[in-house]
Point group: C2
């Protein structure tokens, strides 16, 4: 089924304990679209870049079946740019540079041909822009998934809460869940956040996996223990892309199927961190994907138990 | 099958964000023996206390089928005492008081009737004392599981490495695995630690679950997301007790069965943290245990997947 992806398409410059990059392609919607492209040929992208953005990456997306009709290219302007440096533990990072550029006044125009989308993935963006996207859709999608981050909790909490109230699934990390809810216990945090609107909450815990909450139900998906995490940038976006991509492929938005979708999201994210930027998820092979899914199944499988 | 447990039986005074206790019963072997008692009536305890230790707790152990023939009671001396205060996140704590008392010159005497034990659980103790226990057994147990902590890495690394080389399963937490191996990646750390001797390594990650490594194989068990973690003291010991208790009950020390054992260990630990000290694991009911195991099975279960 068709899937609308909205978010940043941008440049990043990244430094990790394993090396550093020049300006490379990044942005939430870049990672998300690449990830969804392994599940559906119906991905439709809404984003904005400057004239400095490489045509080559746009063609890569197109070749992977992503529609870029909704990708605005602003002549005479520059793409969003973020630069950051990860600490030794790779779980925390410092932002060195943020240049909003074209993202500063991003107007998310939805092409007419996108109006039939049944799935909507709102990558991390200004909450007001995310909200505009929802309001511009003539028919509410079957499922709206939204990612966000602590930054918006600090500078646009009211907008953020309004947008959160309009979506079905919210994905945030553990620290953000605590910040948004004011609860340290993730179980209590999940209850409070669900009361804000979303019927499903995914709490991402990086190398410690992810939790899916729905009412009183909870599902846990591990992250794959990796020899080396090379660059965590985009892992959360890739996870979200794998998650909604699988749901769009199967058309099944039940809680049971969301559990499966989280495993696919985790598998996609496990590839993402193995190289800098989007490199590792540009062209994954069928057998790599298959083997990775099997590793996840093996990782948590145990016998039938009773006391 | 019979199971020898060696470790501290002691007093703790604990402060958490939820309250504080006076001197209550604690110590690794107290938690371990209580946990193993749900799996086997063949637990045999070797430990030392002072004359200040409550007879009531010793009787509780006996009533739960734990042999206390190897529990030395030193007249005119005081039991080991530890006092600590947990930080808000409950993942870190400050030690306020440590009084070694009887533990300062603990000589682990193994009663003759204990010599047939097929399973040995070495709770956290001076590595030299743990080693003495192994050397005093006339027949090597079928399985030796050892717990330790960062403290011994700092003051008795050579002794510790020697003891580690003599055991089958080592249980440590993630920070300790990194410290012991000098590797940040837990996959790399696991390989290095297995090269020190133990064929199995369990890395405990608190609220983030536990990993079991064996050669190139890895298994992950989640922790149960809890509304409230009241007091994490003894959770690792209770986990170890549930783990080895289940192995002793089934008599099966295969990697596959260790996966099951880790789930039982995690279930036991999830009870432990719900109240201060040993309170919650003193008298668990059959149906509580059954329900908790089912929660674990449900927590990680997803469908049959393929790309």
């Amino acid at each position: 089924m068709s899937l609308l992806v909205v978010g940043s398409v941008a440049f990043d410059a990244i430094e990790t304990p394993f090396g550093k990059t020049d300006k490379i392609v990044g942005g939430a919607a870049s990672y998300i679209s690449l990830a969804t492209s392994y599940f559906t040929k119906g991905t439709k992208l809404v984003a904005v870049v400057g004239e400095d953005f490489p045509q080559e990456f746009i063609e890569t997306l197109q070749n992977r079946g992503v529609s870029t009709e909704g990708l605005q290219i602003k002549q005479g302007e520059k793409s969003f740019f973020w630069s950051g440096k990860y600490h030794t533990d790779m779980n925390s990072r410092d932002t060195l540079i943020t240049e909003l550029n074209v993202l500063g006044n991003f107007d998310p125009i939805i092409p007419e041909s996108y109006q039939d989308c049944e799935f909507l993935m709102l990558g991390n963006l200004t909450p007001a822009v995310q909200q505009t996207v929802i309001n511009r859709l003539t028919k509410r999608p079957k499922l709206i998934v939204m990612d966000t981050m602590n930054f918006w909790m600090e500078i646009a909490l009211d907008d953020l809460k309004k947008t959160i109230s309009m979506v079905d699934v919210l994905t945030i990390n553990d620290e953000e869940a605590r910040q948004l809810s004011g609860e340290y216990s993730l179980v209590k945090a999940a209850a409070k956040i669900q009361a804000m609107g979303p019927k499903y909450l995914i709490i991402k815990k990086g190398e410690n996996g992810a939790l899916l909450f729905h009412g009183k139900e909870v599902f846990f998906a591990p992250a794959l223990p990796l020899e080396e995490v090379f660059d965590p940038t985009g892992a959360g976006d890739t996870f979200a892309g794998g998650f909604i991509g699988y749901l769009a492929k199967t058309g099944d938005i039940s809680f049971e199927n969301m559990k499966n979708a989280i495993i696919y999201g985790s598998a996609m994210a496990s590839f993402c961190v193995e190289k800098f930027g989007t490199e590792r998820i540009m062209d994954l092979k069928e057998d790599e994907l298959q083997a990775r899914i099997q590793q996840f199944q093996k990782l948590v499988k145990f016998g039938a138990l009773s006391f």
